[in-house]
């Protein structure tokens, strides 16, 4: 099949960008989307042109490196699929495709389709951890985990941090990402000690990074390649509101701090 691509080209973070048109000829329907771009890039290199920069690593949909907008949909039209696992058989011969990087103040474009997602790492650093004691390994099953909690936590833990939720959100909010991380740890017994602080700090960081505010419209859930439900955002809201109410600040005296 033959396709027409309109791709966002931007030399570096400071340079202005623009959409450019490319022809992708003789595309096999068995190719993944990234393999199709590889072929286009081979052609560009042969013509001594700058190849299209896009981020990728595992190409099996589990690392969270890849991702850009295909016709205004994060990771393209196939639900529950990263763009590296999206195959060309989902497109029609002669189709025109618009490829754009994730757009958010928090995600500055580094080059072409590559954005800096360091903001997500800083949200994790703000509270996405549990404290464990070092030393010998704990006994297995020493802490009982209710099945339901394990299930919810596992659903949330499926997040690969690709940023599609931010890209799809009309407000460029990182609510689904942050909600998934907060729910992943906060539903487990091992995550209780930091639960309040986690919900306050990660949400605070979310605003410091200039992400928008959630308006509960559900575009993130539809874009998420791991199909994480917006129930995780409600869980974050619950934890955050409870923590905001309960937090007492530093104790004036006593305590162990």
């Amino acid at each position: 099949m033959n396709l027409t691509l309109h791709v966002w080209r931007q030399a570096n973070a400071a340079a202005p960008g623009r959409m450019e048109r490319y022809d992708a000829r003789n595309v096999s329907e068995d190719m993944s989307f990234l393999e199709m771009l590889d072929v286009v890039n081979e052609q560009l290199i042969a013509e001594s042109k700058e190849p299209i920069a896009f981020e990728h690593d595992c190409r099996e949909g589990i690392c969270g490196s890849c991702g850009f907008m295909v016709n205004g949909v994060a990771h393209g039209p196939q639900r529950g699929t990263t763009v590296c696992q999206l195959h060309m058989r989902h497109f029609k011969d002669g189709e025109e495709l618009y490829l754009e990087p994730w757009r958010a103040t928090a995600f500055p474009v580094l080059k072409d389709l590559v954005v800096d997602r360091g903001a997500l790492d800083r949200i994790i650093a703000a509270g996405g951890y549990v404290s464990v004691r070092t030393g010998s390994a704990p006994d297995g099953n020493a802490i009982s985990v209710p099945k339901e909690a394990a299930d919810i936590s596992m659903d949330a833990a499926a997040c690969i941090g690709c940023g599609a939720c931010v890209a799809a959100c009309p407000n460029a909010a990182a609510a689904l990402f942050t909600g998934a991380k907060i729910s992943h740890l906060g539903t487990l017994p091992q995550g209780q000690a930091e639960r309040s602080r986690r919900a306050l700090r990660m949400v605070e960081q979310l605003s410091l990074e200039d992400f928008g505010a959630c308006t509960n419209i559900g575009e993130c859930e539809a874009a998420c390649p791991k199909q994480i439900p917006i129930e995780m955002i409600a869980r974050m809201n619950h934890d955050h509101l409870k923590a905001a109410w309960q937090t007492r600040g530093a104790r004036k005296s006593g305590g162990g701090e």
Partner: protein, 232 residues
């Protein structure tokens, strides 16, 4: 242990600067205003019981000025908070995506949820007109302090007043069809079993309330509500 990362957050600051607390304020004020809309609709549907029923009801509402003005100030505060918080959130959101997509598709969101910023201001403008029309009476051609029934009937007999009212009610009901379900999510309630029911309820609210509100101008325009000249 380093306490830099674990220092407790400044509670007062994190409380009111938090986008989630702001959304909770939207939800709580929205919920209270939704209840008001419900009571207001039920009260006004008494117009179909005839002039006596609705005029007595209106007189009763106005009989204790402390309660009347308390309710009015309370409603004004709720609307004010709802709008103020919206403006704060809009400012945050407008900063979050400075470069728009050349192409953007909507995959899951409803038209109602995407048009909250349109329906909201329209409702606010309508409230001002509605108060001047049927509460203060300065925008009403034949306003009577005591005869609420004839105010409604004669007010709605002007076709463009009814048309504007229907448009405003359609937008109010779209606003409710998203708002009534969204408030649960904002306050942290989402459940795989209950949330789909809440969404159905919110959509039903939108449709039923619109039918209720629309019935009054349509009845006045079509002559179903008689003017009761003999009682004036």
């Amino acid at each position: 242990m380093s306490t830099a990362a674990l220092a407790p957050p400044n509670s007062a600051r994190s409380l009111f600067s938090s986008v989630i607390v702001k959304k909770a304020i939207m939800a709580a004020t929205g919920a209270a205003l939704y209840l008001f809309v419900t009571v207001h609709l039920l009260g006004n549907l008494q117009v179909f019981l005839g002039p006596e029923a609705i005029n007595t009801y209106a007189a009763k509402l106005k009989s204790i000025p402390e309660i009347l003005w308390g309710a009015r100030l309370g409603l004004l505060t709720l609307v004010g908070l709802h709008i103020l918080t919206t403006i704060q959130l809009m400012k945050i959101n407008s900063k979050a995506r400075p470069v728009a997509y050349a192409k953007k598709a909507n995959s899951a969101s409803t038209a109602a949820s995407r048009t909250m910023y349109l329906s909201g201001p329209t409702i606010a403008a309508f409230i001002v007109y509605h108060l001047l029309h049927l509460t203060v009476g300065s925008a009403h051609p034949q306003f009577s302090e005591t005869d609420v029934y004839s105010n409604i009937v004669f007010g709605f007999r002007v076709w463009w007043v009814s048309a504007a009212y229907l448009v405003a009610m359609a937008l109010l009901c779209t606003h409710l069809s998203h708002g009534v379900q969204s408030m649960f999510q904002s306050l942290g309630f989402n459940h795989p079993k209950h949330t789909p029911r809440i969404k159905k309820f919110a959509h039903a609210v939108g449709l039923i309330y619109f039918a209720g509100f629309a019935s009054m101008p349509l009845a006045a325009l079509s002559g179903f509500l008689p003017p009761f000249f003999e009682r004036l």
